[in-house]
């Protein structure tokens, strides 16, 4: 493992996708899925730090139970900016649009995605949507929270709701186009002999995610149109003054926004499966079950949105059904955790940085998932709804889960993407700092929630101060942890050691080609393995002794 320096160095001039034009124009007009992946990566990194800056300011304010550096209105705008940017401009595109774009065609043995120009269009659509949101922020911000609940967003808010809504609406089309492209790519461009049950689980995960993107995003888009029309013209079907139904908006919103959680976490599960199997040198335990579990999560994910509305005035019988179905989703999710654990069992495990991130993902996802079961219980949710318990729960899924897995994936495929190794000790350090910082930030919030501190308040009772200070301290560690990879990964682009085609000895098709890959991905058609993840831990152990 990681005998990277021993690899013969490739000549600098050998043609690859990065050497295929150096001008800005060559990047902005590219239809190469690998370059579009990098365009996305750069863009979402910028959004990640804008959203992160908002969170930093919030944690700074929350050090004190009384106003410290801002007013209540500013605080509302900060958590809205944080939510809108992190959800739609970082988490949703994160793994699919970067790693997915880069890897899906290579994993299925294709030259590019099925519709390369549509792929570029998707990025420009994303930029356009992002521009609207940036305009909304610059021209005063939005104070409704990322959920845009009615009637606050239609009647009472005096902020730039319409710009924000247009931004999210437009970005939705970039999601749809990306999802569409992956669906067609997986259906039509698989190399001969690469059947569905030979596909890596990452492809399964992105495929399932794409289905959600294509079927759920239009619902959000149209819901936001109804919201915007009602806001601009002063009445609509959500208007209680006419006998309309504000709760209807919540149904429509969560019909998208709950499946959106699976848009964020299914790709993360895909990354974890690739990384854990590689560094355990063992085939994924229960490959077919894993694939079916992905499909089940995607399918059931569409039927649980009502658990966001237990205290919103929906019918009790509806709540009972939604509660039950939410427990059902836990089954395939748990199967995945068991199978990752079983994959480790009797593996030949090494702890390179991607593995540290991936193991962090499994642990944090487990906590996030189990606390989700608390919230799915009607009686408990009545008490925990809208408290910091909820905030902690979904940050364990989205940050502890998705962001950790995103970092695992970035490190794992960094040698493939750039042709260079990242610095191993720095990366391990960052993984550990992020893990510690994350837990210190969000674990106290579970306790705050149990003790009754409501979310989205900028002043709080004095007895909550100690845990809030802990949380803010954790946030500063977490922030340092997030800056580290930006520094050392940037450094490694020029100064990292040469990676070679397959530094991990991994089994996916993408490792059969050079790093960085040639423009058309493969110099010779890749060999399709008899089964996926054909690792042999015994041989690995024997070799090591």
């Amino acid at each position: 493992m990681s005998t990277v320096t021993a690899e013969p160095a490739l000549p600098e001039t050998e043609s690859n996708y990065l050497a295929n034009g150096y001008s800005l124009w060559s990047w902005l007009t590219t239809t190469d899925h690998k370059r579009i992946a990098i365009l996305y990566a750069v863009t979402i990194t910028a959004f990640f730090f804008i959203g992160g800056a908002a969170a930093t300011l919030m944690r700074l304010e929350l050090i004190s139970p009384t106003p410290l550096i801002m007013g209540a209105e500013t605080y509302n705008k900060l958590f809205t900016a944080h939510g809108v940017i992190m959800v739609w401009f970082f988490l949703i595109p994160s793994i699919p649009a970067t790693l997915g774009n880069f890897l899906i065609p290579m994993m299925v043995g294709a030259k590019d995605v099925a519709l390369p120009r549509v792929n570029l269009l998707s990025w420009y659509t994303f930029i356009l949507g992002g521009a609207f949101v940036i305009v909304a922020l610059i021209s005063g911000g939005i104070d409704t929270g990322w959920t845009f609940y009615i009637p606050l967003s239609t009647r009472y808010s005096e902020t730039q709701v319409v710009y924000g809504v247009i931004g999210v609406f437009v970005t939705g089309f970039s999601s749809i186009l990306t999802g569409l492209n992956f669906i067609v790519t997986v259906h039509r461009l698989r190399a001969p002999g690469l059947t569905w049950f030979k596909l890596p689980l990452f492809v399964w995960a992105i495929y399932a995610t794409s289905i959600i993107l294509v079927l759920a995003t239009p619902v959000l888009a149209m819901t936001l149109v109804l919201l915007a029309v009602q806001r601009v013209f002063g009445l609509g079907i959500f208007d209680a003054a006419l006998g309309g139904d504000p709760v209807l908006f919540q149904h429509m919103f969560w019909f998208y926004s709950h499946p959106a959680v699976y848009i964020m976490v299914l790709p993360a599960m895909g990354v974890a499966s690739e990384v854990i199997t590689c560094f355990a040198r063992k085939p994924v335990f229960g490959y077919r079950t894993m694939a079916y579990a992905i499909a089940a999560i995607a399918a059931f994910g569409f039927m649980v949105w009502g658990h966001h509305m237990f205290v919103a005035g929906q019918s009790l019988y509806a709540s009972l059904v939604f509660s039950f179905l939410s427990y059902v989703v836990a089954i395939p999710s748990a199967i995945k955790v068991f199978n990752w654990t079983a994959t480790l069992y009797k593996g030949s495990i090494t702890f390179e940085a991607p593995m540290l991130y991936a193991l962090g993902f499994v642990g944090l996802f487990l906590i996030g998932g189990l606390t989700g079961l608390y919230l799915a219980s009607l009686a408990l949710d009545a008490n925990l709804s809208d408290t910091y318990f909820v905030v902690a729960h979904f940050h364990y899924i989205m940050v502890g889960g998705s962001v950790m897995a995103y970092f695992a994936g970035i490190h794992f495929w960094w040698p493939k993407i750039t042709g260079r190794m990242y610095p191993e000790s720095w990366s391990r350090l960052a993984a550990i700092v992020i893990f510690i910082g994350f837990n210190l930030t969000f674990f106290p919030q579970f306790i705050l929630g149990l003790e009754g501190m409501p979310r989205r308040y900028f002043e709080y009772a004095p007895q909550f101060q100690f845990l809030n200070i802990l949380s803010s301290a954790g946030a500063s560690i977490l922030a340092a942890g997030y800056v580290l990879p930006v520094l050392y990964l940037t450094w490694s682009i020029r100064h990292g050691s040469r990676a070679g085609g397959n530094p991990w000895g991994a089994k996916g098709l993408e490792w059969q080609t050079r790093s960085p890959p040639p423009v058309e991905n493969f110099d010779v058609p890749p060999k399709i393995p008899q089964r996926p993840y054909d690792y042999d831990p015994q041989a690995e152990e024997a070799q090591r002794q």
């Binding site: 294509v214 029309v229 006998g243 139904d245």
Partner: protein, 209 residues
């Protein structure tokens, strides 16, 4: 290579766009589905108001438009088929007919909007209908404008595509061997028509059963 094998090869290569369009149409169904869901929930809460308000729509113009757009479905299907079998001139005429029918639909719809405004049926203005059910009636017309508006936007996009295809077929860019773009346009147009099949009864025929 026989002509058949060549055709099969072309289909296999080109069908990425076709699969892509079908996936896109699935997302379109969800897009309009949300509107029909909003309509249904609101109508269930206000059945009488919806019946009364629906009577104020112009059923004659709505019905004429239904005829116009269903006919255009036929012409566009024939246009795509004609190109496939090599009847290029027929295809040009049929595309032109589809385009004309689409423009006619939009013109009638615009006139209808104009008279709706004239009759004060715009829900967010000085609304013509008063009385205890006025809230539900306003919400009916809210959905009427949003749903027909969303449909009209799709139809306008379709008209642009049709014009592009018409020019392409006339200049020989799209031919018997390169007909997929025309076929996909026809598919999209068929979905726009299909939406009207559902819009027409729920907006114009509520109390007229």
């Amino acid at each position: 290579m026989s002509a058949n094998a060549e055709l099969a090869g072309r289909r296999a290569n080109d069908s990425e766009s076709e699969v892509g369009l079908w996936v896109f149409l699935a997302s379109e169904v969800m897009f309009f589905g949300l509107l029909f869901y909003g309509y249904t929930i609101t109508r269930m809460a206000h059945p009488q108001a919806f019946a009364i308000a629906s009577a104020h729509t112009d059923v004659l113009l709505g019905s004429i438009n239904a005829l116009v757009i269903f006919t255009s479905s036929l012409t566009v299907a024939l246009a795509a088929r004609s190109l496939r079998i090599g009847a290029q001139r027929a295809s040009v005429w049929l595309l032109a007919a589809t385009l004309a029918l689409g423009v006619l639909f939009l013109a009638i719809k615009c006139y209808e909007y104009y008279s709706d405004i004239d009759k004060h049926l715009v829900p967010w203005g000085d609304f013509a209908l008063h009385g205890p059910l006025a809230g539900g009636e306003r919400m009916f017309f809210f959905m009427y404008f949003v749903m027909t508006g969303a449909h009209a936007i799709h139809l306008t996009v379709g008209l642009g595509l049709l014009a592009f295809m018409l020019a392409g077929v006339a200049r020989g860019v799209y031919t018997q061997k390169n007909s997929e773009a025309v076929e996909l346009t026809a598919l999209y147009w068929a979905v726009v028509d299909t939406v009207w099949i559902f819009l027409y009864p729920v907006l114009y025929l509520v109390h007229r059963s």
